[in-house]
Symmetry: C2
Subunit: 300 residues, 2 copies
């Protein structure tokens, strides 16, 4: 097997005769002969993931144009039968939805990693394209994540395994972060794209210090002190996936990046107040940045 294929950290996969990627509804009938999967997915170089199926469908249509992929008609959802996640393929790019939060994303991430292993993809890069809250940057700013912090303000991810707390580092590939900024930005964009730290939390309300959830046992001042602490750590955006995403991909040695657009400046409030039209325009911004990055890397 080529050195550029993906090696996972699970010896059990080497001896299992078959595998069923349950949530993707992809059946690997014979792990010893994955010719069919290689034929279907072997050319994949980039996996773009994001929260909703509809946004991933839009991204697929956008990338068709940018990459000049000759396809017409509606993009086909390759995981429709699984009913949990949507997957579209545009040339060498998969666009896959992951829902909200680390738990939801981790399910599909484990299965995507197994997919690229079985399909013998060559050094695939996984890019999350999301929306998020911002910290001290104007709404509409695109943030490419440098280091991922969890809700405890640590640059790591915590997970319970076999009943025990396991802590893992949460660093994204420096290469990807650097290249996204180098190749993804255009001086005429009309918005800022920055490299900064990101906090990923397990709760949108209490976990991100909002005072407008169903439960809030702290004051506005406590909240601002917390957000200031985040800001002091170089955190410029807050979402719900970064630390899990960085830790899992770092652990298995697959390059990854997180490129999100801020919809609000949390130093100025908790409620998202941009219009739906603005939101849709903002959501396109990471498409532009990631589209250019992918184009550049495909040309190298």
């Amino acid at each position: 097997m080529s050195e550029k294929t993906v090696k996972l950290l699970n010896p059990h996969l080497e001896t299992a005769p078959s595998d069923y990627l349950y949530h993707l509804d992809i059946n690997v009938a014979n792990t010893g002969d994955t010719t069919e999967l290689q034929h279907k997915f072997g050319d994949v170089k980039f996996i773009c993931v994001g929260g909703t199926g509809s946004r991933m469908r839009q991204l697929a249509l956008y990338l068709r144009d940018v990459l000049g992929v000759q396809e017409s008609g509606d993009p086909v959802d390759l995981c429709e039968r699984g009913q949990r996640y949507a997957m579209y393929k545009v040339g060498p790019v998969l666009c896959v939805s992951h829902g909200i939060g680390s738990a939801s994303f981790s399910v599909v991430l484990h299965e995507l990693l197994k997919l690229v292993k079985y399909a013998r993809c060559q050094e695939p890069v996984i890019l999350r394209i999301g929306t998020c809250g911002g910290l001290g940057v104007p709404p509409g700013t695109v943030v490419a994540t440098k280091n991922a912090f969890n809700g405890l303000l640590r640059n790591e991810h915590e997970i319970a395994i076999l009943g025990q707390r396991v802590v893992r580092p949460a660093q994204f590939s420096e290469d990807v972060n650097k290249d996204v900024i180098a190749f993804g930005v255009d001086a005429n964009d009309g918005f800022q794209t920055i490299s900064a730290n990101t906090m990923g939390t397990d709760c949108f309300y209490e976990g991100q210090g909002r005072i407008d959830g169903a439960i809030c046992e702290y004051t506005e001042k406590d909240k601002m002190d917390f957000l200031q602490k985040c800001h002091d750590l170089g955190i410029r955006n807050i979402e719900m996936e970064a630390s899990m995403f960085a830790s899992v991909t770092q652990k298995v040695g697959v390059k990854a990046g997180d490129v999100c657009v801020t919809l609000i400046d949390r130093l100025k409030g908790d409620q998202v107040s941009i219009t739906m039209d603005q939101k849709h325009e903002f959501e396109q911004r990471p498409f532009l940045v990631v589209g250019r990055y992918i184009m550049k890397l495909l040309q190298q």
Copy 2:
């Protein structure tokens, strides 16, 4: 305000002039006069939540029949514009999707709790209707959760708030659990419905001791020891939401229950191997149980 309406644990909500339930795309323009919301949602007595929008749509159609609600045509998704969660209303029942995992569910749970508060619903009950792995029970068994354990095997839920670890108890209402068993079961069902403990984890693979994820650093024996430990604690099913769900609803004093059907017996393997037809049949079982429970309570 009537004593039967929902009081939340957030003093800030009492002084906020407006609120926007962002992920549901429901705008509460004036929190001092919620007449319109009361008109639309004030009769809600039960909120059924589950993973996928398609299953919640099926449930809405099923409950139309069971409750004899005179409506025809496709159920309308009241949150379609939000693009994250689906919501259908059938008489006094809301059917709402929550995605996968505690983080995804907690977003919509906070917003649903605010919705029933603003709409002045009378003692609403929230019921999760899900699928799960089983422990020592045949696939197709329906489990109504007694106590919710987290992935650390503790009957509590942990969450990071303002950068600090916060631990909360995770008990479901005894009433709901007792009534689901008393009113939901029919001797001719052809499947078992039991009351037992549930473990909710933040990861489907490593978090539930599976050996078929992208990462696995333990042996088959370690896994079986862990699952046996779970079994010894009275845990008969494993999913990804129970401890968060129990802790948030317990904290705000809203009655709740978790009613899930097992798709696999984890003491016998990791891979879900039932057919899609069996899966769809199994998914109907909690519908039957919860449908009867709701009917009975509405008649009281």
